[in-house]
Each structure stands twice: as C-alpha cells, then as structure tokens.
Symmetry: C2
Subunit: 225 residues, 2 copies
C-alpha cells in the first residue's frame, strides 16, 4: 500500500473521477445507496477514503455524478417517426435505465442539494425539441415535458417502492398477507388478488398504461393552445 502497487504486487490503476463514479454505480447496483460510504468506495478501489477527496469535492459530487451517469443511459435519439412514437420509445428507454439502477430515481428526484446535471439537460431538451417540432406551442411543449418527465421518474420510483426487496425471504409476501388484517379493507384484498392473477399472465405494463394515457391526452390537447 502507498507504493503504487496492490497487495498482490500488480500495478495499481491510478484513481480518477471516472473510476470512482463507475465503481460507485456498480456498488449501488448491488448494495443500494446506503452501501455507499466514502470508506467503502475507497476500499473497493484499494485506497483510503481520504484519497477520494483528491478527485471529487465531497460525497454529494459522487451522488450527483452517478445520477448523471444513469441519465446518460436514457435514449434521447430514438428513430423519429411521429412525435408520439418517438416520445413513447424514449420514455420507455428511460424507464428501463431507471429500473437497471433502482437507486437512481430517488437521487434524481430528490437531490440534496439540487444540482444541474448535464445529461438531464440534454434529456429535457430532446423532449421539448420533439414537441416543438411537432407543432406544439411553447406552453404546450412545457406541459408535455412536465407530464412525461414526472411520469418517467415519479411512476418508476412509485413502482420500485412496490417491488419486493431482493433480499426478502421467499415467503415474505405470504407472511404479510397472512399477518395483515384485511377485514376493514375488502378492496385492498381484491387488489392483491388482481396482482397475483396478473403475475401469472403478464399483460401490458403499468408504466406503459399511464404513459399512453398521457400521450393520448397530449394529442387531444395539442391544438387547444
């Protein structure tokens, strides 16, 4: 250690902002945001926590950086048939990227402190540009962006909150269903049954359902100022 070599004698790859961020993304993917500490990131890189401060200002910059990495996975240039198809495909690619990194929605939606993320700007610009090119007024394009962006980020976070954690025991759901008193909640019980039935024969995703409601609505309101 401190000799430029790792314990096994191999030459150590020099630390860099990029290596820190890529490592942090991988760690968050497997262990969640809580597993990211300056010490644990350093350890993963074979380095002490304090070395990280030579490449990033503070932990907040790492969190902003990995959020931006996920945002840069959004497909902002889908085959640009009509605006509706293009927007739909773009939103779906964003949804998939967010699901690949389940910790990222929270970071993008509730950044502390707020930061301007370059990949986020490019994504928003692409949505606005598509609406404007399709003839939407500036105000209509703005509302369209709000609706699409909030659905992509908000619905995905909502969806993830209803997922079972990866480390949940296999009988977790059954136990909750058995231990919860549903006598005052008949429709909640029915709702659970719907979910069980759906998981056997998966149909149109819920994300797409909401997305299509928005797209239909935007199409209908497109002309009316």
């Amino acid at each position: 250690m401190g000799t430029g070599q790792t314990a096994d004698g191999s030459v150590r790859t020099p630390l860099s902002r990029d290596r820190i961020l890529v490592t942090a993304v991988a760690m968050a993917d497997t262990g969640g945001l809580d597993s990211l500490t300056m010490r644990s990131i350093g350890h993963e890189l074979g380095v002490e926590a304090m070395s990280l401060y030579n490449h990033v200002r503070d932990k907040g910059e790492i969190l902003a950086g990995i959020a931006d990495l996920v945002l840069s996975e959004f497909d902002i240039r889908p085959p640009a048939r009509d605006w509706r198809t293009a927007t739909r495909e773009s939103a779906i690619s964003a949804h998939e990227a967010l699901l690949r990194h389940p910790w990222s929605c929270e970071l993008i939606l509730a950044p502390r402190p707020p930061r301007i993320l370059p990949a986020r700007m490019r994504w928003i610009e692409s949505i606005l540009a598509r609406f404007r090119a399709a003839g939407f007024s500036p105000a209509a394009a703005s509302r369209g962006y709000h609706a699409i962006d909030s659905h992509v980020l908000g619905f995905t976070l909502w969806e993830l909150g209803h997922r079972l954690p990866d480390d949940a025991p296999p009988d977790f759901l059954e136990r909750v269903m058995r231990e919860t008193d549903f006598s005052a909640f008949p429709y909640l019980l029915e709702h659970a049954a719907v979910h069980r039935a759906m998981s056997e024969e998966p149909e149109l995703g819920e994300f797409e359902f909401g997305l299509d409601l928005i797209l239909e609505g935007l199409d209908r309101h497109r002309t009316s100022q």
Copy 2:
C-alpha cells in the same frame, strides 16, 4: 433535569410516542428530514436521545410514524358526487397535504425499510372502493389506483424538486440563468421563459393538468375491461 421538571421549574409533560411524532413533524416542516436526529428530537423535547428508545423501537419507526401522520391528513371522504369529481377532490387534498410537508413524499415513496402504514391502507382502500362502486372491474380499479396514487406521490415529489429551496438567495434563479450556457439548449431556454410568463399570470396548476389527463383516460377506458 431528571427531576421531572424542566429548567424553569415547570412540570415536564411526560414523553410519549405521540409527542415524539408530533414534534418530529414540526421539526421536519421547518428544517427538513436532515434536521431529524435522535439527539435533536430529544433536545426539542427537553430529554436525552436515549429516552426516545423507551417509546419507539428505532429511528425508522419515527420516520414511518411521521409519514403516516401526513397520510392521515389526506381527505378520504370528500363529498361523493360522481366518481370523477370525488377522485379529483381527494387527489387534490392529498397533493395539498404533501405540499404542507415537503419532506413526506420521499418518505412515503422510498421507505427504508418498507413498512405497512395504516393511513396508507385506508387511503388506497378509499380509492379502490370508489372505482368499484362506479362500476370499474377489479382490474380496471387496480389500474386506476396505480395511476392516481403514482401521480399524487410521484408528481408532487417531482414538483417539489423543481421548487427553489426556502433558504435560496433571492437572486439565485437569475444567477443560474446567467451562469448556465444555453447555447446547446434553445428549447430549455424557451421553457424557462414560459415559466417566467406563467408565474406572472398563474393558470391551471400542473398537478391538475396531469390529474385530468388520467381521469379522462380512465373514463374512456372504463368500459373496455
């Protein structure tokens, strides 16, 4: 201290789970979630941090408790004209409650670890019951609940993320606009102009706009299974 009296000699109100939660809500309202530490909550109550553990299992129970307090502010029994009006009013009351406690969306949407909140069950049940009473199939009611609930929580969190923090300097927005290079983002610049124009003559809220898109969509899909 430790004598059952506060420093000024007045008799101290005994600690209780309720007092802890109500105090924590007030603290989060003024200082945000980050201002909630076991020590700071204890201090606010004139007690040491360790005393809290006589009334709650851990900090997670406090966070779940204050989230449930906010959820219990949702109006689940609005005047029940038709389903669409009732759902709309109920969603708007939920939106307002979440805005009163800007820290709460995050807690409800991304709970760590996930917990079953009683007030959340009551709220979901009320949505489902209303859809079913209006003739929605179980599957359609489930999808309706997903769309409404994810919009209420997801959009509000999204909206709050675009709000300026209360402690932002008055020229914050101007400085960001001046320092950011918009040359590659013409439509983002136009979007900012739309926002400026809108803040002068406020119109229909963005939350209601998305809500109405969903309600219209649900109405249209109501019959189709």
